[in-house]
């Protein structure tokens, strides 16, 4: 698959043109290409896979409605789609009941852990720690570590400089490592 301009593939450009010309069914190709990434992003950011899928549906629906406004000269299609996902997730998080960081951290420290703690328990605590991160740090971390987006793309989605993105990711990692220290996990 060849690439043009800002990273938009020829097939993607053709598919978008087809949709805009009235071939609505062609939009399914875009949905199928990006559904896993968008669902995973929303599910990890919101901490709930069912809500993540619902939000991902809204993302693709909004993308279809706004497709004519997508400008390939300004961004990749994936960047544009992730920007929509980011905004939808922020709105969803506002609706969701906010669980305070202290409440979750309290649960973490209250655990009486044995030396042979299972990975699943550590992962559960990391999940909790992820959900307690400030939204900006959490999004930057998820974009970089789970979605493997380059810093430049994350900066474009978030509307900040690359340095800010790096700093947010580092702070997020530091907090996640700190969450593991409670379990006497060996740090490097």
């Amino acid at each position: 698959m060849s690439s043009i301009g800002s990273g938009l593939t020829v097939n993607e450009r053709e598919t978008i043109s087809q949709v805009l010309r009235g071939n609505v069914g062609a939009f399914r190709l875009l949905v199928e290409k990006y559904q896993t990434s968008i669902i995973r992003f929303a599910a990890n950011l919101l901490g709930d896979s069912h809500i993540g899928e619902d939000v991902a549906q809204d993302v693709f629906f909004a993308a279809y409605k706004k497709l004519a406004s997508f400008d390939p000269a300004r961004s990749n299609f994936s960047t544009w789609l992730f920007s929509i996902a980011r905004n939808k997730c922020i709105n969803e998080m506002k609706k969701k009941k906010v669980v305070s960081a202290n409440e979750l951290l309290g649960k973490i420290t209250a655990n009486n852990l044995s030396d042979g703690i299972a990975n699943q328990e550590l992962f559960a605590e990391l999940d909790k720690a992820l959900q307690t991160l400030p939204g900006r740090q959490k999004r930057a971390f998820i974009f970089a570590e789970f979605e493997n987006l380059p810093y430049q793309e994350i900066a474009q989605i978030e509307g900040v400089r690359i340095g800010t993105v790096k700093s947010r990711i580092n702070r997020a990692k530091k907090k996640l490592r700190a969450a593991l220290e409670i379990f006497n996990v060996e740090t490097i």
């Binding site: 609505v24 069914g25 939009f27 399914r28 949905v31 199928e32 559904q35 896993t36 669902i39 995973r40 599910a43 990890n44 896979s49 993540g52 899928e53 991902a56 549906q57 693709f60 629906f61 279809y64 409605k65 990975n119 550590l122 992962f123 990391l126 570590e145 789970f146 990692k173 996640l176 490592r177 593991l180 220290e181 996990v185 060996e186 740090t187 490097i188």
Partner: protein, 84 residues
């Protein structure tokens, strides 16, 4: 186990979220329904009202248009009286 190893394993588990099998079909059904609603006949009164009230510019244009017609009617009326 070291922190970085645990974080790596955890990240791997987070990548394992997969969509429902009919996810794309659900999205497409919603899109087809939206398009079906959008393609309703233009001269449907409820649709005209919906268009006029949803877009501030259309709303403003309708108000200005109404006011202009009113002024023209008054001018026409005055002109008719003055000619009599």
């Amino acid at each position: 186990m070291k922190t970085e190893e645990i974080l790596k394993l955890w990240t791997d588990t987070k990548l394992q979220i997969n969509p429902e099998r009919d996810f794309s079909s659900k999205v497409m059904s919603r899109i087809y329904e939206y398009d079906r609603q959008r393609k309703k006949p233009l001269f449907d009164i409820s649709r005209l009202v919906e268009i006029a009230t949803s877009n501030p510019l259309t709303k403003a244009a309708m108000i200005i248009g109404g006011a202009a017609i009113g002024v023209l009617r008054i001018v026409f009326l005055l002109r008719t009286f003055l000619w009599c």
